[in-house]
Symmetry: C2
């Protein structure tokens, strides 16, 4: 049994009018707290001296009350642990308040009509996704955690944690820790041809918060946003928190069909897009489409939310510069994350914001959750500056390329003709299309029961897809797991 | 000069048609990248072998290109650093792209009409608050960071960081880390008479996110919320992100005037309230008012967002149980934080959610920013379970009581009759009312110039207050600073 430290006592309220003797009030208070289950068997109680001091009263009534509680078996004394609530309090006496509470909550849940919540919140709730409930083979977005340099990382964590200053423990900047913002600006300029200054970088808790903030700052309820069809479900949810109306625009082998978007909703207020590596299908948006999109945004005043996820990993040798770097009208909000290159529990990402919007984003971040934890921001800065980050990306690029090859081979060998692999050689997942008429949701559910985390392509569509498929992550799945996983998947299909 | 690691290169695109020799394309690419400032003086470039492998081409054209770049002075070789961009590239050549960019951004900022953002985001932007720009004397909400047990804490951080597992590095639960949720439920039950199970605890990044999430889940745009007048500005901002309409309800010495609230807006959808220690005035809501408020909520179906900030610190010896514990209709959302008891940069808080709303809050948290960083959640759990938390609170309670006494004495001694101290003996700040007609905003601004972080009472009002005042935090201000600070404040008044 865990012990609650002695100071954690329910509030004690005493009547100082003198009508009831103090010792009696203290005694009654403990008896009631024990019977109500607020104090648990074995829990330590304060010393008589400590309690008297806390209640600002003489020690004598407290001692009298304790004596009586001992005599009646409510208190026991254990060597080394001081006075505790007795372990032998009959359990049925203790059950009462629990029963009471569950009755109250039963009343609430018996209430047939669910209680009113916001429209946004109600719309967000979807069907359960059993494929996300395990970390098994093919879990999308999961990196090769077993290859993360935990030793190097924890040395940096330890260094910063030991040397915390008043400044690093106090309230931080809503935009983020300045040295990290400098480092990210430098990194994005060099690797992704993003044009920005450190003052335009907002450190977030991940891409999800970046998209959510963009929605909140740029969109009012019922404003219209183009989203890719199929597209990233996380982005749909983030934009729904702003009350935005989502307009699905089809993607083809050249990326988002911009002309079709203009036909369907020319006056839309924004677009969410994954141009480097379309989520989930994996194609790269070509140059013509990019110019079309930027021109549309410049002419109509629409915002472009560019999610550049997985851009670190291209195995074809031809990285594509970001849309942000091509944009001359400052209409692109560029969103990125460290979750997948580092590890998801890090909770660090970034947004590159047009200069005239920096203030609005900063204010919104402050209103939502103030700022990101400083420690990890400082550690991440050193991790990049000391070269560990670039080294880790290089190593993972080779590893993921091998895993991708192994996955494609396993699919071709074990399920010849059944699954069709699509998408560019990039990122940490691929899409395997199923034969027409096969229900991917059913297969993903069955696979989840076998511990396989294969995500159904259907979950990325607003409307029903023509052909189902499975999104297979290979970043966090080693070659042996890939082979076993494909065998198990074969059994499900 | 910092060195960008070698792998951070802008994307290289080569034409493989054979029209231009490969060595020439590589040479041209580097020359342009250097002239455009994408590669900086002193920056390392990949080895010829590395680049050839990355581009999937023979090493010979790469070596030829490098030779020419060396010859023309674009590259230099430093012992131990390999090949780098020369440090002597004329600076005026490098300035060009920067100029170009600032022209583009000047165009944007010259655009007289600011570009359209959401109504919510535009409303959030307020006047600058110079008193928040320093960590000087009287900074509100700042704890005594110099007394935080950094040694104990960093040992726990180090232990968890070194032993990270796949599970602790991967995606976590949107509701939080289970052992922390258990620990928080136990703590709140014992100390604050909160009635909840661990499944009702949502771990947040702080009280701010708790309030923001409550607004998002419970309120649609233009839904009406009672707020305390004066009240906590952070809560106003959080509720504004949901598009809520704020209805200021006056507080008096018994707390929020519930009858007045019912008169002004009986059908409001929610109330935000600080019953234990009203922010900023410091009174405690009495029992009658509490019952009135709970009855109103039960009858009308309104939600109560209870912010129980600073409840750890009461120097009068009579803690008041939470509203949540009195509520029999499950209408209270209870918000708390570790920021002030521990340190703000920790970014950990919690919400206690009625059982039937758990799913909606969890989905909303996932859509906003997924989950809180796992490391600190695990460390916080141990910090509480090993008794450090209770010990730290006890020590700080004594310290803050001393600091409060010193502050009240300094005010009475140095400014007799000028400032009137109000509020219960609790928390980490007090309010000192100014003589009538004195402008608190002007005094706070003047004080900020002297490095004093005294917050004006006016900033907590929606309408103009009858009497101005200063909110003086004493948690993070030691006795010497308090005395000096009051002397400086005296000069400003």
């Amino acid at each position: 049994m865990k012990r609650v430290p002695a100071s954690f006592l329910p509030p004690i309220t005493l009547d100082s009018s003198g009508a009831i003797p103090m010792y009696r009030q203290v005694y009654e208070w403990f008896r009631r707290a024990i019977m109500a289950g607020q104090l648990r068997p074995g829990q330590r109680v304060p010393s008589t001296r400590g309690l008297a001091a806390e209640l600002k009263m003489s020690r004598i009534p407290v001692s009298s009350a304790y004596d009586q509680l001992h005599e009646e078996g409510y208190f026991e004394t254990f060597v080394g642990a001081g006075t505790c609530v007795a372990r032998s309090i009959p359990c049925d006496a203790l059950d009462q308040p629990v029963k009471k509470q569950s009755e109250a909550s039963r009343q609430v849940s018996q209430n047939k009509t669910p209680r009113r919540i916001s429209v946004r919140a109600a719309l967000l709730r979807g069907a359960p996704q059993p494929w996300l409930s395990n970390l098994g083979a093919f879990r999308v977005s999961l990196p090769a955690l077993e290859h993360f340099p935990v030793g190097v990382w924890s040395k940096l964590v330890n260094r910063h944690s030991r040397n915390q200053t008043r400044q690093s423990m106090a309230y931080g900047d809503a935009m983020g820790y300045w040295p990290l913002r400098e480092t990210v600006a430098e990194y994005l300029g060099a690797v992704r041809a993003v044009r920005c200054e450190p003052s335009q970088i907002l450190v977030t808790t991940g891409a999800q918060q970046g998209i959510q903030l963009a929605g909140q700052v740029l969109l009012d309820a019922n404003d219209r946003v183009w989203i890719e069809e199929p597209g990233y479900p996380g982005a749909r949810k983030a934009l729904m928190t702003a009350g935005a109306q989502l307009i699905p625009i089809p993607v083809d082998e050249e990326g988002l069909n911009v002309a079709e978007g203009i036909r369907r909703a020319r006056a839309a207020d924004a677009v969410y897009i994954t141009p480097s590596h379309q989520y989930p299908l994996g194609m790269t948006m070509n140059a013509t489409r990019r110019m079309l999109l930027l021109n549309w945004a410049a002419r109509t005043g629409a915002w472009i939310i560019e999610d550049d996820y997985d851009s670190e990993y291209r195995y074809g040798g031809r990285p594509i510069p970001s849309l942000q770097g091509l944009d001359t009208s400052a209409r692109v909000i560029y969103v990125g994350t460290f979750s997948k290159v580092m590890f998801p529990a890090l909770r660090l990402g970034y947004v590159v914001i047009p200069k005239d919007l920096v203030d609005a984003f900063s204010t919104a971040r402050d209103a939502n959750d103030q700022f990101s934890s400083t420690l990890y921001q400082a550690v991440m800065t050193d991790f990049i500056r000391e070269g560990h980050f670039a080294r880790h990306i290089r190593r993972m690029r080779m590893l993921y390329q091998q895993r991708r090859t192994a996955l494609v081979e396993a699919i071709h060998k074990q399920m010849p003709g059944k699954l069709e692999v699509i998408g560019a050689e990039a990122g940490m997942h691929l899409v395997a299309l199923l034969p027409e008429g096969v229900n991917d949701l059913a297969i993903s559910k069955k696979a989840a029961e076998l511990g396989i985390a294969a995500m159904p392509l259907t979950s990325c569509y607003e409307s029903a897809p023509i052909r189902g498929g499975l999104i297979l992550g290979y970043g966090g799945t080693d070659v042996r797991q890939i082979q076993q996983g494909i065998r198990k998947l074969g059994m499900c299909i």
